[in-house]
Symmetry: C2
Subunit: 109 residues, 2 copies
């Protein structure tokens, strides 16, 4: 066992799970908040900013990129990472819809 049974859930549920899982780590939350905070697109400065090694940061960046939460543009020897609007929009929309639907129906508890 130990493997998620994705085949039993809807495409949307699996897609949201992948997107949400990409943010389910404080380092990746910190990276996203840092990218949001700095106006310009800082690249390897994330390694200086966070208390994790360069390979670890690189791995977290890869996961965020795969999930569609950030974008990376090559600029010489360095890479310019920034937030991908679409990923954030998906999360925002999902939770807003969820909250709206929840508040519409009076729950019993």
């Amino acid at each position: 066992m130990g493997v998620t049974k994705t085949e039993h859930f809807t495409d949307t549920q699996n897609e949201m799970a992948i997107l949400i899982k990409a943010l389910a780590h404080p380092a990746r939350i910190a990276i996203m908040e840092y990218l949001c905070e700095v106006n310009s697109c800082i690249c390897g400065e994330i390694v200086n900013e966070l208390p994790l090694s360069q390979p670890t940061i690189s791995q977290h960046l890869k996961e965020l990129k795969n999930a569609g939460l950030i974008k990376g543009t090559v600029e010489g020897t360095s890479i310019c990472y920034c937030i991908d609007e679409k990923g954030i929009a998906k999360l925002q929309t999902y939770f807003n819809q969820f909250a709206t639907q929840f508040l519409d129906k009076k729950q019993c508890c």
Copy 2:
């Protein structure tokens, strides 16, 4: 290693990571959506609804409850689970604030 270095991040970042991680699985997303969909608070019906065993569902419910995303009320031999408004509100607020802050600052990519 294999252990998250929580001590290096802010309390808010760690708290959001715990909350987000609780939703980072399609089964738990499906449980939340089911609880949101059914108007009344269904309990062990979740086991019939989802294609996972009773112990597995029970474990997922425990994680959602620990994270503050659902509440459970004992009703005789069964338990009535329903969505905890506060958890959902935290997620909604976080992503709305993030999106707002992001859109305010024109990013470079």
